[in-house]
Every structure is written in structure tokens, then in C-alpha cells.
């Protein structure tokens, strides 16, 4: 059928990569007109190259995939298990999910993760806020209201992911952060003046000095392509057996289902500020698709002084988690919740109680030594 169409209409555009099949989509990253098969090939090959060139894994690694049930992590789980087979990375893959306890949002998305577990044959581990901290997000919101609760959720999730990874005894955690996310983070760090985070937000592997490093295989992958990936899969699976997968139909179903409902945001977070930057990036992408990669490149090339003071890393006196303060942020927040003072640890006012004071003393000593007097020229 494909050939027939080519013979009939000379105006049919051919894929500019293989020059054989009809081009069926404009690749968001490069605006090349390519066919479906080539799209899958370049999409997966690019991720494979990123994994190889950055030496993200070594054979025999146990790797946990942070799985939320959203499009990024679902596609990541699928692509990673496919590449693991195809290129024999020799990885033991796991799915790791965090249950924040948000009724009507997380319980739905966790159902997808449960389905993925069966479809991909990957063992799944779910850690919940309730079991780790004794508080679910629903309960926290009931206590502090809908403002500021993202502080709790973000701090708790980061630690929950690390604790789940430790329970699974994995060597690495991979997350589905894509190029758009990273570009957005670079911009946000410039906008709020966070030079320390600006210097590390573009590195593909973070936390190498910590117990379990995390990496982002989708660092150079555009969000739009991640959306296209499962979308085109449906057509591919129904028309031709393009992929030698055991049950392509069940994947497509899962993807379709998931895409369907993950257009909804977390019910507690309208997240206006991040949305601002995201909107800007989408506008930029429309004018110049390369802008996203350029922002990441800028982030990597920023000349950040090594003498800029970075917080020292230590461990939390209470739970042993990595922390730059006496107590880790999760313990400070939890302590506030348990004592009925949920505002503790939000904002800067009372944080002094839990160790900011002694840090200031440490730094005070140093900064006096380093202080420069103006040049005295008479």
C-alpha cells in the first residue's frame, strides 16, 4: 500500500532519514519529516547513546525506575526494559512508586503502575507516606490547608524514593525527567537566584556522593516526543507487527489509558509559578525547537566559581538521612506536624531552632577571615 501511494502521487513526502517510507510526522526536536519506524529508531537510539556516552549503568546493576504512572516514567520503564533486552545491558530493573496518599489522584495512577508491573514483568515496590512518616498527604492537607503543602510533598517524596531504593537494595535510581523539565529548572534557578542548584541541575547523574545516585536518561528527550511515542504505538501495533514484543496490544492499552488521565494535575497543586516558566518554554519551542537543548547547554557551560560557598553535606541526627543541617528537612517538617505546629520549617522564620544557628556560627567565623577590605590607596 505504501509503495502504491508513492507511485501514484509523486508529491508524497518521503521520510528524510530512510528515504523509503512515507513521512508521517514532523519530529519535534529537529522538525525533520520522518516515518514512524524511523521515529522509534531515533528515539530509542538517542537514549541508548546517552546511556552509553555517560556510562549511566554497568552490567549487573540493580536499577529502580521511579514510576509515578505518568507518561514520562511509563515510557521510561518501557524503553529501558526494551533497551536492556536489545543491547544486553545486564540490568535488574525494578519499578519504585511513592504513594503520597492523595485520594482521587495518586490511587488512580498507582493502578497504572500495577498494570505495568504485570505487562513488563518488572517487580514493583510501593512506599507510602503513611507507612514511612505516619502521615498521608490527605491528612497533612487537612491540617495545614491547601497552601504550602507542596513543600511537604516534595521533601517527603525525595526521601521516600531514597528509602524505597535502599529497601530494594538497588545501585541506581532513574527518573523520567525530560529535556523540558531540565530547561525549566535552569530558568527557574536563574529567576530565583539559586546558584548552587543552577550548577548541578543539568548534570545527568546526581547524588554520586550519596548512598544511591540518581540519573535521568531522558535528559535530552523532548516532552513532545515522549507524548508521541505511545500515541503512535497504537497505530503501529494495530497495522503491522512492527515490534517483536510479546503483547503489544496490552502496552498500547496501558499507554492510551494513562495518557488519557494524566493530563490532570495534582489536585492540591495548581502550581502557578512553574507553569509560568513552562508556558515560556513552550513559546520558545514554537519559535525555535532547538532552544530547549540550548538552555541545557547553557546550564552545563555556566562558569560557576568553585569558591562559591556550597552547603556542607552531613547526616541527619535523627534519621541518618543526608542533610546539610542538624536535622534533615523531612524530620523538621515531621516534627512540626507531630507537635501541631505545621508552619515550622516553612519559610525562614523558625528554622533557626533546628541547627541553622550553629551553621551560621560556623560560617560567621569563616566569613570574617575572608572579608575583603576595600583597597586603600592614598
Amino acid at each position: 500500500m505504501e509503495e502504491e501511494r508513492q507511485r501514484r502521487g509523486g508529491g508524497v513526502r518521503l521520510c528524510c532519514l530512510c528515504n523509503r517510507q512515507r513521512a508521517s510526522l514532523k519530529r519535534p526536536k529537529t522538525l525533520q519529516q520522518i516515518c514512524r519506524d524511523c521515529f522509534y529508531r531515533v528515539f530509542e537510539d538517542e537514549i541508548h547513546d546517552v546511556i552509553l556516552s555517560n556510562r549511566l549503568f554497568s552490567p549487573g546493576d540493580r536499577v529502580a525506575i521511579g514510576a509515578s504512572g505518568g507518561k514520562d516514567s511509563t515510557v521510561l520503564a518501557y524503553v529501558l526494559s526494551k533497551l536492556n533486552h536489545a543491547h544486553s545491558y545486564g540490568l535488574d530493573l525494578f519499578l519504585l512508586s511513592v504513594d503520597e496518599g492523595i485520594t482521587g489522584y495518586r490511587d488512580d495512577s498507582l493502578l497504572t503502575v500495577h498494570r505495568n508491573q504485570i505487562q513488563y514483568g518488572l517487580p514493583l515496590k510501593v512506599v507510602s507516606y503513611k507507612e514511612l512518616y505516619g502521615w498521608s498527604m490527605d491528612e497533612i492537607v487537612k491540617m495545614i490547608g491547601v497552601k504550602n503543602n507542596c513543600t511537604f510533598c516534595g521533601v517527603f517524596r525525595r526521601q521516600a524514593l531514597d528509602r524505597g531504593a535502599a529497601q530494594l537494595k538497588v545501585d541506581k535510581v532513574v527518573t523520567g525527567h525530560n529535556a523540558d523539565d531540565i530547561a525549566e529548572t535552569v530558568l527557574l534557578n536563574i529567576l530565583r537566584g539559586d546558584i548552587a542548584r543552577l550548577s548541578r541541575c543539568t548534570s545527568i547523574t546526581t547524588g554520586e556522593d550519596g548512598p544511591i545516585p540518581r540519573c535521568k536518561p531522558f535528559k535530552y528527550t523532548y516532552e513532545k516526543e515522549i507524548v508521541i511515542y505511545p500515541f503512535y504505538f497504537i497505530a503501529a501495533a494495530t497495522s503491522t507487527a512492527a515490534f517483536a514484543n510479546p503483547s503489544p496490544l496490552s502496552f498500547t492499552y496501558a499507554y492510551f489509558k494513562k495518557l488519557d488521565y494524566f493530563s490532570t494535575e495534582c489536585i492540591y497543586s495548581p502550581n502557578a509559578y512553574r507553569g509560568f516558566a513552562r508556558e515560556f518554554i513552550k513559546d520558545l519551542e514554537r519559535i525555535r525547537p532547538r532552544a530547549i537543548l540550548d538552555i541545557i547547554k547553557s546550564g552545563e557551560n555556566f562558569r560557576i566559581s568553585t569558591t562559591t560557598k556550597m552547603p556542607e553535606q552531613g547526616t541527619c541526627e535523627r534519621c541518618g538521612y543526608i542533610s546539610s543541617q542538624k536535622w534533615c528537612k523531612a524530620c523538621v517538617l515531621l516534627d512540626g506536624l507531630n507537635r501541631g505546629l505545621p508552619k515550622l520549617g516553612i519559610g525562614r522564620s523558625r528554622a533557626g531552632i533546628t541547627g541553622r544557628k550553629d551553621r551560621n556560627e560556623n560560617y560567621g567565623g569563616k566569613s570574617i577571615d575572608n572579608k575583603q577590605c576595600g583597597t586603600l590607596d592614598f
Binding site: G193, I287, D294, N301, R303, R350, G374
Partner: protein, 465 residues
């Protein structure tokens, strides 16, 4: 640390309540009518002099704190601090102010004039006259060759500029009205054609804007150099620089970004200085309004470029948070500047001691900055190591190829034409000065490369012995 979380709905600085009441009172407020404002008055008293009503509406973190006079002296103070602490202008200097007619360069011109006037008074009053008064010139670049500016508008603009500059005397200031095609050394009609061809061969709208910016800097440098100036003052304000930080990031120029946003940029033949780096656009507009400074805005048509998108984004952010622009500039200020981001020391023994003493440098850290020896042939931005091409194997390639690889990746993408035919034409149309600079840079690279190799060989030899 001042407010505890919950209690902070207090009205620390009553910004929001005031605009209606104080904007109505802004004009009479510049003159103190009576000896003091009554305490029960609804207007906010100036935080500094405690005498007059504060004016508001000028944006930034200080909005609504000062009265008109204190506002003006505060703004001038920022300018003067930038000038003195970075040794921008010393008594023996000849300063060329780039004047576009817009508010920022108008204020820059005004402040430079104020400083010069003051220096003149001091000179006249002093007995030994050891400190000469620095000279000031004004340059306006006429870009009507490449921008759709109506000719009547340009004529009016020239009239306004003439009247502005002649009103700023004494001391006398020379005015240079120069067309953009002056970057070509041959006669101007040829240049006009060349520059139109050159700019039109850039297909990307953002690239075209940036190309024009490069050409404008070339023209400014040429004027400054020809007429013997040794400083070029630009009116770039905080808002402008904040936009530049973001747009440079978006264009992938993260490495060279710190070179552009410092007070001093001496990578050019004539060092460029930005004394308004700490002043917000709104403050500058306010000053123009208060002092009735005449400004003009040439209509250049709509812009669909990344630069335009970024400026509107920054303006939106600034509206939401009045200190956003300065946060952006401060963040980028923490990136390491380059060695050329300072005024070179005066080593000439003929310069009087009094002048040399005036070169104060308060906040210049000892050389932490990394030096960079190679620059983009087109935009003159320092090149990252990954962008520097190995010249040893391109000896026999075409000059266009060499030029292409001497440009930064950003210029390669957004300015240089893709196909070789157009590239050939583009190269032919470039001003001679650009090509000369590129050739010099190549030779520089070559010698730099040799130096690096020599270094390696030496250390290898040392290891073996």
C-alpha cells in the same frame, strides 16, 4: 528575619495602597511647599529626607519610598558608584556616549553630563588644576538602511538629538551622526547596498536582530576609535541586562554570558562601560518624566524574535515581583567574569599621579577570572573549549569554511547561512574589519594551539627523565 511567617500581612511598606494618592501629588511634591508634611497626611513621607511626600510608580524595590529629589539623587548615586568603583571614567579620558534617543541612553547622557559639569566646576575652582576634565562626545547610529524607519521620522529624530546635545553645554559635546553602513570603509552608497544584502541573507529573525547588534557595536567602535575616544558608554539598564541573561541562556551562550553583563567590557579596542547596570527601566522612565527629558522611540515594526519573547516574559515577571530583574542579574553576576571585564591599569608614566590615584577599584576581586584567548569571529564572544577548532588540519580549506568554524555555535546556527552558495555571498558582503578580526583570531588560535602542545610535550619529557 524581620517578620514571622504568619504575621506578615502587615503593611511594612505601604506600596499597594498608595499609587492613587501619591501619583496625584507627584508633581507638586518636587518642590517643598511648606516646611514639613503633617503627620496625619495620607501621603507617605520620604524615607530619606522625611520632608517631602514620596513618589511612586517607578518600580523596583525602592518604589514609593523616596520623594522626587531623593529619588533623583539615589539614582544618580547608583550611577556614580558604578562609575567610580570600576574606574570607568578618569579625568584624562575621552568618553563617547552611545545615544539612541531612548530613555536609558538619554539618562546615561544626562548623568555623564552632570558628572562632567561637576568636574568642570572643581577644575575652575582648584588652584593647581592638576585634574583635567574628561571630554564627552555623543554618537547616534542611523540604522534606517536596514530598519523600516520612515524618513520623516528619522529627520525629526535627528532634530531632537541635535537639540538635546546642544542643550547639554557647557562643556561642549561633539555629536557624531553616523549611518550604520559606516562599518564598510568604502563610500557609503556601496556600503548601504552591502549591509542590506548582508542583513537580508540572515533568515532567522532572532539572528537578524543579533547581527544588527553586532554591526552596531562595530560602528560604535569605529567612531570611537577614529575620533580618539577611549571609553564607550552604553545605557544598558538592569531590565535590559536581565533580558540579555535569559536570551543568551536560551541561545546556548551560557559560557560567554558573563562577559556581556559586567560593568566593564574591555575585549573591544575601546573599552565598553555600563554605568546604568544597577538602574531599573522604570526608574529611568520616571526620571525622564520628572525632569522632562525628551526621548524618542523609533518605530521599527513588530518583532517575532526570541529577544522579543524574552523581554515580554521578563516584563511580566517584573510586574509580579518588583525585584525579579535584579535577582536575575545578580544570579548571572555570580558567574565568573573574564579577564577583560575590567579597565586595564594605567601603566603609562606620563599620566599624572593625581589621575592615576583616581582609578579606584573597590569591588574588584583579584584575578579569579579565567582567561580566554579565542573569540567568535562574528559576535566577538569568548569561545568555549569545545567550540575552538583544531586548526592544524584545515590549512588548505576555503576561507568561508575557516570563517564558519571561527564562529560560536550560536552564530553558526542563527546567523550564518546553511548552504555554501549563500555562505560564500555572506562572506563576501561582510565588512572588512570582521574578516580581518577573524583572520587575526585564527592566527591567535594557531599559536595558542602550539603553545598547548608544547606544554604537553614538556611535561611528557619531564615524566620520563
Amino acid at each position: 528575619m524581620a517578620c514571622n511567617g504568619t504575621g506578615c500581612q502587615s503593611t511594612c511598606y505601604k506600596d499597594e495602597e498608595e499609587p492613587s494618592s501619591s501619583s496625584s501629588s507627584s508633581s507638586p511634591c518636587s518642590k517643598p511647599s511648606t516646611d514639613s508634611v503633617k503627620p496625619e497626611s495620607t501621603n507617605v513621607c520620604c524615607l530619606k529626607c522625611k520632608l517631602n511626600d514620596a513618589v511612586s510608580g517607578y518600580g523596583g524595590v525602592d518604589d514609593g519610598r523616596f520623594c522626587a529629589d531623593c529619588f533623583k539623587s539615589n539614582l544618580f548615586g547608583k550611577f556614580r558608584l558604578a562609575v567610580t568603583s570600576n574606574a570607568m571614567i578618569t579625568p584624562t579620558d575621552e568618553v563617547l556616549v552611545a545615544f539612541s534617543g531612548g530613555p536609558s541612553s538619554r539618562v546615561a547622557l544626562q548623568f555623564v553630563h552632570d558628572m562632567q559639569e561637576r568636574a568642570q566646576k572643581n577644575f575652575d575652582a582648584s588652584r593647581d588644576r592638576s585634574l583635567p576634565v574628561f571630554g564627552v562626545g555623543v554618537v547616534f547610529i542611523d540604522e534606517s538602511a536596514v530598519l523600516p524607519i520612515p524618513s520623516t521620522e528619522m529627520e525629526e529624530a535627528v532634530e531632537v538629538i541635535n537639540s538635546v546635545v546642544s542643550s547639554l553645554a557647557p562643556p561642549m559635546k561633539e555629536l557624531h551622526l553616523v549611518p550604520i553602513e559606516t562599518v564598510y570603509s568604502s563610500n557609503s552608497s556601496d556600503g548601504k547596498e552591502g549591509i542590506i544584502k548582508l542583513v537580508n541573507s540572515v533568515s532567522d529573525p532572532t539572528g537578524r536582530e543579533d547581527m544588527l547588534l553586532n554591526l552596531r557595536m562595530l560602528a560604535l567602535q569605529k567612531v570611537a576609535s577614529e575620533f580618539g575616544y577611549n571609553r564607550l558608554v552604553l545605557g544598558s539598564c538592569t531590565s535590559r541586562i536581565a533580558s540579555h541573561v535569559l536570551s543568551a541562556t536560551v541561545k546556548g551562550q551560557g559560557y560567554s554570558l558573563p562577559a556581556d553583563i559586567q560593568y566593564v567590557d574591555a575585549r573591544w579596542e575601546i573599552p565598553v562601560v555600563l554605568p546604568l547596570r544597577d538602574c531599573f527601566a522604570q526608574e529611568i522612565n520616571m526620571l525622564c518624566r520628572l525632569d522632562g527629558l525628551k526621548t524618542l522611540q523609533l518605530s521599527t515594526g513588530p518583532s517575532s524574535s526570541i529577544n522579543g519573547l524574552v523581554s515580554s516574559f521578563v516584563a511580566l515577571l517584573q510586574e509580579e515581583n518588583p525585584s525579579r530583574e535584579s535577582t536575575i542579574v545578580r544570579t548571572a553576576g555570580k558567574l565568573i567574569p573574564f579577564h577583560f571585564n575590567r579597565i586595564p591599569e594605567i601603566v603609562d608614566g606620563n599620566v599624572p599621579l593625581a589621575t592615576r590615584r583616581r582609578q579606584k577599584r573597590y569591588n574588584l576581586k583579584p584575578n579569579e577570572s579565567v582567561s580566554s584567548e579565542s573569540f567568535c569571529a562574528l559576535c566577538n564572544s569568548p569561545l568555549d573549549k569545545s567550540e575552538i577548532v583544531d586548526w592544524s588540519n584545515v590549512d588548505n580549506s576555503r576561507s568561508t569554511d575557516i570563517f564558519y568554524s571561527a564562529c560560536c555555535s550560536s552564530c553558526q546556527f542563527q546567523i550564518l547561512p546553511r548552504d555554501s552558495m549563500t555562505m560564500e555571498q555572506f562572506y563576501m558582503d561582510l565588512p572588512q574589519s570582521v574578516i580581518i578580526r577573524a583572520k587575526q583570531a585564527n592566527n591567535g588560535n594557531l599559536s595558542l594551539l602550539r603553545e598547548q602542545i608544547q606544554d604537553c610535550l614538556l611535561s611528557d619529557g619531564e615524566d620520563e627523565t
